[in-house]
Subunit: 150 residues, 2 copies
DNA sequence: ATACATAATATGTATCTACATGGAAACCGG
DNA sequence: CCGGTTTCCATGTAGATACATATTATGTAT
Protein backbone atom coordinates (compact mmCIF):
# COMPACT_ATOMS: atom_id res chain seq x y z
CA UNK A 1 0.00 0.00 0.00
CA UNK A 2 1.68 3.12 -1.23
CA UNK A 3 1.19 6.18 0.91
CA UNK A 4 0.25 9.29 -0.99
CA UNK A 5 2.78 11.15 1.11
CA UNK A 6 5.53 9.09 -0.47
CA UNK A 7 4.37 8.34 -3.95
CA UNK A 8 6.01 5.60 -5.94
CA UNK A 9 9.47 6.47 -7.04
CA UNK A 10 8.52 6.07 -10.65
CA UNK A 11 5.68 8.52 -10.32
CA UNK A 12 7.94 11.08 -8.74
CA UNK A 13 10.51 10.53 -11.44
CA UNK A 14 7.91 10.89 -14.16
CA UNK A 15 6.53 13.98 -12.49
CA UNK A 16 9.95 15.56 -12.45
CA UNK A 17 10.39 14.86 -16.12
CA UNK A 18 7.03 16.45 -16.80
CA UNK A 19 7.82 19.49 -14.70
CA UNK A 20 11.10 20.02 -16.50
CA UNK A 21 10.01 19.36 -20.04
CA UNK A 22 6.34 20.12 -20.40
CA UNK A 23 6.03 22.75 -23.10
CA UNK A 24 2.67 23.77 -21.72
CA UNK A 25 3.96 24.47 -18.29
CA UNK A 26 7.17 26.05 -19.54
CA UNK A 27 5.45 28.28 -22.04
CA UNK A 28 3.04 29.57 -19.43
CA UNK A 29 5.87 30.05 -16.97
CA UNK A 30 7.87 32.07 -19.49
CA UNK A 31 4.78 34.09 -20.39
CA UNK A 32 4.06 34.84 -16.74
CA UNK A 33 7.58 36.02 -16.10
CA UNK A 34 7.89 38.08 -19.25
CA UNK A 35 4.47 39.61 -18.75
CA UNK A 36 5.25 40.46 -15.14
CA UNK A 37 8.43 42.19 -16.26
CA UNK A 38 6.60 44.25 -18.85
CA UNK A 39 3.82 45.08 -16.43
CA UNK A 40 6.37 46.55 -14.07
CA UNK A 41 8.01 48.52 -16.87
CA UNK A 42 4.70 49.86 -18.09
CA UNK A 43 3.18 50.54 -14.71
CA UNK A 44 3.48 54.32 -14.96
CA UNK A 45 1.56 54.42 -18.21
CA UNK A 46 -1.61 52.97 -16.79
CA UNK A 47 -1.47 50.06 -19.22
CA UNK A 48 -0.83 46.39 -18.66
CA UNK A 49 1.26 44.40 -21.10
CA UNK A 50 -1.85 42.62 -22.29
CA UNK A 51 -3.72 45.85 -22.86
CA UNK A 52 -0.81 47.38 -24.72
CA UNK A 53 -0.60 44.37 -26.98
CA UNK A 54 -4.27 44.41 -27.73
CA UNK A 55 -4.29 48.14 -28.43
CA UNK A 56 -1.39 47.65 -30.81
CA UNK A 57 -3.32 44.90 -32.54
CA UNK A 58 -6.20 47.29 -32.99
CA UNK A 59 -3.99 50.13 -34.19
CA UNK A 60 -2.28 47.82 -36.65
CA UNK A 61 -5.52 47.15 -38.47
CA UNK A 62 -6.77 49.51 -41.12
CA UNK A 63 -10.31 48.65 -40.32
CA UNK A 64 -11.72 45.40 -39.14
CA UNK A 65 -14.33 43.65 -37.14
CA UNK A 66 -14.19 41.65 -33.94
CA UNK A 67 -14.06 38.23 -35.49
CA UNK A 68 -11.14 39.18 -37.70
CA UNK A 69 -9.38 40.76 -34.75
CA UNK A 70 -9.86 37.59 -32.73
CA UNK A 71 -8.35 35.59 -35.58
CA UNK A 72 -5.36 37.85 -35.96
CA UNK A 73 -4.71 38.11 -32.29
CA UNK A 74 -5.09 34.40 -31.61
CA UNK A 75 -7.70 35.01 -28.95
CA UNK A 76 -11.02 33.31 -28.47
CA UNK A 77 -13.81 35.45 -29.73
CA UNK A 78 -15.37 35.53 -26.28
CA UNK A 79 -12.06 36.39 -24.66
CA UNK A 80 -11.53 39.24 -27.03
CA UNK A 81 -15.01 40.50 -26.37
CA UNK A 82 -14.22 40.80 -22.69
CA UNK A 83 -10.73 42.17 -23.03
CA UNK A 84 -12.11 44.91 -25.23
CA UNK A 85 -14.60 45.84 -22.59
CA UNK A 86 -11.97 46.99 -20.12
CA UNK A 87 -10.36 49.13 -22.80
CA UNK A 88 -13.75 50.51 -23.70
CA UNK A 89 -14.55 51.35 -20.10
CA UNK A 90 -11.39 53.46 -19.97
CA UNK A 91 -12.41 55.04 -23.26
CA UNK A 92 -9.28 53.91 -25.01
CA UNK A 93 -11.22 52.24 -27.79
CA UNK A 94 -14.59 52.60 -29.44
CA UNK A 95 -16.79 49.84 -30.77
CA UNK A 96 -19.52 50.64 -33.24
CA UNK A 97 -21.99 48.92 -35.48
CA UNK A 98 -21.17 48.19 -39.09
CA UNK A 99 -24.11 49.61 -41.00
CA UNK A 100 -23.84 47.17 -43.87
CA UNK A 101 -24.09 44.19 -41.52
CA UNK A 102 -25.65 44.77 -38.17
CA UNK A 103 -24.17 41.61 -36.71
CA UNK A 104 -20.69 43.00 -37.00
CA UNK A 105 -18.85 45.47 -34.83
CA UNK A 106 -15.83 47.53 -35.71
CA UNK A 107 -13.18 48.67 -33.22
CA UNK A 108 -10.76 51.52 -33.24
CA UNK A 109 -8.70 53.59 -30.90
CA UNK A 110 -10.10 56.80 -29.52
CA UNK A 111 -7.97 59.91 -29.54
CA UNK A 112 -7.18 59.17 -25.92
CA UNK A 113 -6.27 55.62 -26.82
CA UNK A 114 -4.05 56.67 -29.68
CA UNK A 115 -2.20 59.12 -27.44
CA UNK A 116 -1.82 56.49 -24.76
CA UNK A 117 -0.44 54.00 -27.23
CA UNK A 118 1.86 56.59 -28.76
CA UNK A 119 3.25 57.38 -25.33
CA UNK A 120 3.71 53.69 -24.59
CA UNK A 121 5.66 52.80 -27.70
CA UNK A 122 9.04 54.20 -26.63
CA UNK A 123 8.63 52.76 -23.15
CA UNK A 124 7.82 49.40 -24.67
CA UNK A 125 10.78 49.66 -27.03
CA UNK A 126 13.11 50.29 -24.14
CA UNK A 127 11.62 47.48 -22.08
CA UNK A 128 11.79 45.06 -24.97
CA UNK A 129 15.45 45.95 -25.48
CA UNK A 130 16.25 45.22 -21.86
CA UNK A 131 14.25 42.04 -22.06
CA UNK A 132 16.14 40.98 -25.17
CA UNK A 133 19.34 40.92 -23.15
CA UNK A 134 17.93 38.07 -21.12
CA UNK A 135 15.55 36.31 -23.49
CA UNK A 136 15.98 35.87 -27.25
CA UNK A 137 12.95 37.76 -28.46
CA UNK A 138 13.19 36.53 -32.02
CA UNK A 139 12.92 32.98 -30.72
CA UNK A 140 9.80 33.90 -28.81
CA UNK A 141 8.33 35.23 -32.01
CA UNK A 142 9.20 32.03 -33.85
CA UNK A 143 7.53 30.04 -31.13
CA UNK A 144 4.34 32.03 -31.46
CA UNK A 145 4.41 31.46 -35.21
CA UNK A 146 5.16 27.78 -35.00
CA UNK A 147 2.54 27.08 -32.39
CA UNK A 148 -0.14 28.34 -34.73
CA UNK A 149 0.06 24.97 -36.50
CA UNK A 150 -1.16 23.18 -33.38
CA UNK B 1 -6.53 66.80 -36.91
CA UNK B 2 -5.96 63.08 -37.13
CA UNK B 3 -9.06 60.96 -37.02
CA UNK B 4 -8.82 58.03 -34.67
CA UNK B 5 -10.25 55.89 -37.45
CA UNK B 6 -7.13 56.56 -39.45
CA UNK B 7 -4.32 56.88 -36.97
CA UNK B 8 -1.08 58.47 -37.98
CA UNK B 9 0.95 56.28 -40.27
CA UNK B 10 3.80 56.26 -37.81
CA UNK B 11 1.58 55.00 -35.04
CA UNK B 12 0.26 52.21 -37.19
CA UNK B 13 3.77 51.30 -38.23
CA UNK B 14 4.95 51.30 -34.64
CA UNK B 15 1.96 49.25 -33.63
CA UNK B 16 2.74 46.66 -36.26
CA UNK B 17 6.30 46.42 -35.03
CA UNK B 18 5.03 45.92 -31.51
CA UNK B 19 2.54 43.28 -32.56
CA UNK B 20 5.20 41.35 -34.41
CA UNK B 21 8.01 41.60 -31.93
CA UNK B 22 6.62 42.04 -28.46
CA UNK B 23 7.94 39.16 -26.39
CA UNK B 24 5.09 39.63 -23.93
CA UNK B 25 2.42 39.25 -26.54
CA UNK B 26 4.23 36.48 -28.37
CA UNK B 27 4.96 34.49 -25.25
CA UNK B 28 1.33 34.64 -24.17
CA UNK B 29 0.19 33.75 -27.66
CA UNK B 30 2.47 30.72 -27.76
CA UNK B 31 1.35 29.71 -24.28
CA UNK B 32 -2.31 29.99 -25.24
CA UNK B 33 -1.85 27.87 -28.32
CA UNK B 34 0.28 25.22 -26.67
CA UNK B 35 -2.02 25.04 -23.66
CA UNK B 36 -5.08 24.73 -25.88
CA UNK B 37 -3.43 21.86 -27.71
CA UNK B 38 -2.63 20.05 -24.50
CA UNK B 39 -6.08 20.71 -23.10
CA UNK B 40 -7.56 18.98 -26.11
CA UNK B 41 -5.18 16.06 -25.78
CA UNK B 42 -5.89 15.68 -22.08
CA UNK B 43 -9.62 16.25 -22.27
CA UNK B 44 -10.55 12.63 -21.63
CA UNK B 45 -8.56 12.50 -18.41
CA UNK B 46 -10.53 15.18 -16.64
CA UNK B 47 -7.44 17.32 -16.21
CA UNK B 48 -6.44 20.59 -17.79
CA UNK B 49 -2.87 21.23 -18.82
CA UNK B 50 -2.47 23.67 -15.96
CA UNK B 51 -3.80 21.20 -13.42
CA UNK B 52 -1.58 18.44 -14.73
CA UNK B 53 1.45 20.69 -14.44
CA UNK B 54 0.62 21.71 -10.93
CA UNK B 55 -0.02 18.15 -9.82
CA UNK B 56 3.31 17.13 -11.28
CA UNK B 57 4.96 19.96 -9.35
CA UNK B 58 3.40 18.63 -6.19
CA UNK B 59 4.37 15.04 -6.94
CA UNK B 60 7.93 16.09 -7.72
CA UNK B 61 8.43 17.42 -4.21
CA UNK B 62 9.47 15.13 -1.40
CA UNK B 63 7.65 17.25 1.10
CA UNK B 64 7.13 20.94 1.09
CA UNK B 65 4.91 23.84 2.00
CA UNK B 66 2.91 26.30 -0.05
CA UNK B 67 5.44 29.09 -0.10
CA UNK B 68 8.16 26.79 -1.36
CA UNK B 69 5.83 25.34 -3.95
CA UNK B 70 4.96 28.84 -5.14
CA UNK B 71 8.64 29.58 -5.50
CA UNK B 72 9.42 26.43 -7.40
CA UNK B 73 6.46 26.72 -9.68
CA UNK B 74 6.94 30.41 -10.43
CA UNK B 75 3.43 31.26 -9.32
CA UNK B 76 2.27 34.04 -7.08
CA UNK B 77 1.54 32.74 -3.63
CA UNK B 78 -2.06 33.89 -3.94
CA UNK B 79 -2.42 32.30 -7.36
CA UNK B 80 -1.13 29.03 -6.08
CA UNK B 81 -3.50 29.16 -3.15
CA UNK B 82 -6.44 29.38 -5.54
CA UNK B 83 -5.23 26.88 -8.08
CA UNK B 84 -4.80 24.38 -5.30
CA UNK B 85 -8.35 24.88 -4.23
CA UNK B 86 -9.80 23.45 -7.42
CA UNK B 87 -7.58 20.40 -7.09
CA UNK B 88 -8.60 20.07 -3.48
CA UNK B 89 -12.28 20.31 -4.35
CA UNK B 90 -11.85 17.34 -6.66
CA UNK B 91 -9.97 15.53 -3.92
CA UNK B 92 -6.85 15.19 -6.02
CA UNK B 93 -4.69 16.80 -3.36
CA UNK B 94 -4.75 17.27 0.37
CA UNK B 95 -3.57 20.27 2.34
CA UNK B 96 -2.77 19.93 6.01
CA UNK B 97 -1.31 21.87 8.86
CA UNK B 98 2.35 21.59 9.75
CA UNK B 99 2.33 20.89 13.46
CA UNK B 100 5.66 22.52 14.10
CA UNK B 101 4.51 25.82 12.60
CA UNK B 102 0.81 26.40 12.38
CA UNK B 103 1.20 29.13 9.80
CA UNK B 104 2.41 26.64 7.26
CA UNK B 105 0.51 24.15 5.14
CA UNK B 106 1.82 21.08 3.40
CA UNK B 107 0.37 19.65 0.18
CA UNK B 108 0.40 16.22 -1.29
CA UNK B 109 -1.48 14.09 -3.76
CA UNK B 110 -4.27 11.89 -2.55
CA UNK B 111 -4.44 8.31 -3.77
CA UNK B 112 -6.99 9.47 -6.30
CA UNK B 113 -4.67 12.25 -7.36
CA UNK B 114 -1.69 9.95 -7.69
CA UNK B 115 -3.68 7.55 -9.83
CA UNK B 116 -4.96 10.36 -11.99
CA UNK B 117 -1.47 11.70 -12.50
CA UNK B 118 -0.13 8.25 -13.20
CA UNK B 119 -2.76 7.76 -15.87
CA UNK B 120 -2.01 11.14 -17.36
CA UNK B 121 1.74 10.67 -17.74
CA UNK B 122 1.70 8.48 -20.86
CA UNK B 123 -0.96 10.66 -22.45
CA UNK B 124 1.13 13.71 -21.74
CA UNK B 125 4.23 12.02 -23.10
CA UNK B 126 2.48 11.24 -26.34
CA UNK B 127 1.05 14.75 -26.61
CA UNK B 128 4.41 16.34 -25.87
CA UNK B 129 5.99 14.20 -28.57
CA UNK B 130 3.47 15.33 -31.14
CA UNK B 131 3.88 18.88 -29.98
CA UNK B 132 7.63 18.61 -30.35
CA UNK B 133 7.21 18.00 -34.05
CA UNK B 134 5.86 21.51 -34.39
CA UNK B 135 7.53 23.46 -31.58
CA UNK B 136 11.06 22.96 -30.27
CA UNK B 137 10.26 21.98 -26.72
CA UNK B 138 13.82 22.29 -25.48
CA UNK B 139 13.78 25.91 -26.59
CA UNK B 140 10.60 26.49 -24.63
CA UNK B 141 12.32 25.12 -21.59
CA UNK B 142 15.31 27.39 -22.11
CA UNK B 143 12.97 30.34 -22.38
CA UNK B 144 11.35 29.50 -19.09
CA UNK B 145 14.76 29.23 -17.49
CA UNK B 146 16.12 32.42 -18.97
CA UNK B 147 13.06 34.46 -18.10
CA UNK B 148 13.60 33.72 -14.44
CA UNK B 149 16.30 36.39 -14.46
CA UNK B 150 13.77 39.09 -15.25
C1' DA C 1 5.29 37.98 29.92
C1' DT C 2 3.89 41.69 26.77
C1' DA C 3 4.03 44.44 22.85
C1' DC C 4 5.85 44.91 18.39
C1' DA C 5 7.71 43.15 14.24
C1' DT C 6 7.89 39.42 10.91
C1' DA C 7 6.39 35.34 8.33
C1' DA C 8 2.93 32.24 5.99
C1' DT C 9 -1.24 31.95 4.06
C1' DA C 10 -5.99 33.40 2.76
C1' DT C 11 -9.18 36.68 0.81
C1' DG C 12 -11.00 40.93 -1.84
C1' DT C 13 -10.86 42.58 -6.23
C1' DA C 14 -9.85 42.65 -11.02
C1' DT C 15 -8.06 41.04 -15.54
C1' DC C 16 -7.13 37.23 -18.80
C1' DT C 17 -8.66 33.11 -20.73
C1' DA C 18 -11.88 29.61 -22.74
C1' DC C 19 -16.02 26.59 -23.47
C1' DA C 20 -20.88 26.39 -23.98
C1' DT C 21 -24.82 28.73 -24.97
C1' DG C 22 -27.99 32.51 -26.28
C1' DG C 23 -29.83 36.28 -29.32
C1' DA C 24 -30.03 38.83 -33.31
C1' DA C 25 -29.05 39.60 -38.06
C1' DA C 26 -28.10 37.83 -42.62
C1' DC C 27 -28.52 34.30 -45.96
C1' DC C 28 -30.90 30.85 -48.72
C1' DG C 29 -34.00 27.41 -50.63
C1' DG C 30 -38.60 26.97 -51.99
C1' DC D 1 -41.83 36.18 -48.82
C1' DC D 2 -41.12 32.63 -45.23
C1' DG D 3 -38.93 29.39 -42.48
C1' DG D 4 -34.71 27.13 -41.53
C1' DT D 5 -29.70 27.65 -41.31
C1' DT D 6 -25.65 30.00 -40.67
C1' DT D 7 -22.87 33.90 -38.97
C1' DC D 8 -21.47 37.23 -35.59
C1' DC D 9 -21.18 38.64 -31.25
C1' DA D 10 -22.47 38.70 -26.16
C1' DT D 11 -23.12 36.35 -21.88
C1' DG D 12 -23.11 32.50 -18.22
C1' DT D 13 -19.88 30.05 -15.96
C1' DA D 14 -15.44 28.81 -14.44
C1' DG D 15 -10.31 28.44 -14.04
C1' DA D 16 -5.71 31.05 -14.11
C1' DT D 17 -3.36 34.97 -12.75
C1' DA D 18 -1.73 38.89 -9.80
C1' DC D 19 -1.75 42.93 -6.49
C1' DA D 20 -3.17 44.68 -2.18
C1' DT D 21 -4.71 43.63 2.17
C1' DA D 22 -6.31 40.89 6.10
C1' DT D 23 -5.47 37.09 9.29
C1' DT D 24 -3.12 34.18 12.15
C1' DA D 25 1.03 32.39 14.10
C1' DT D 26 5.90 32.91 15.21
C1' DG D 27 9.82 35.41 16.81
C1' DT D 28 11.97 39.13 19.60
C1' DA D 29 13.20 42.83 22.52
C1' DT D 30 12.44 44.67 26.78
Amino acid sequence: MTLAKQPKKTLRTDARALVENCAGWNSRLAARRITAFLDRELADLGLSAAQLGLMAQIAALTDDTLGALAQRSGLEQSTLSRNLRTLEREQLIEITLVETDLRRRAVWLTETGARRLEAAIPVWREAQARLAQVVPTDIVRQLADQSEAL
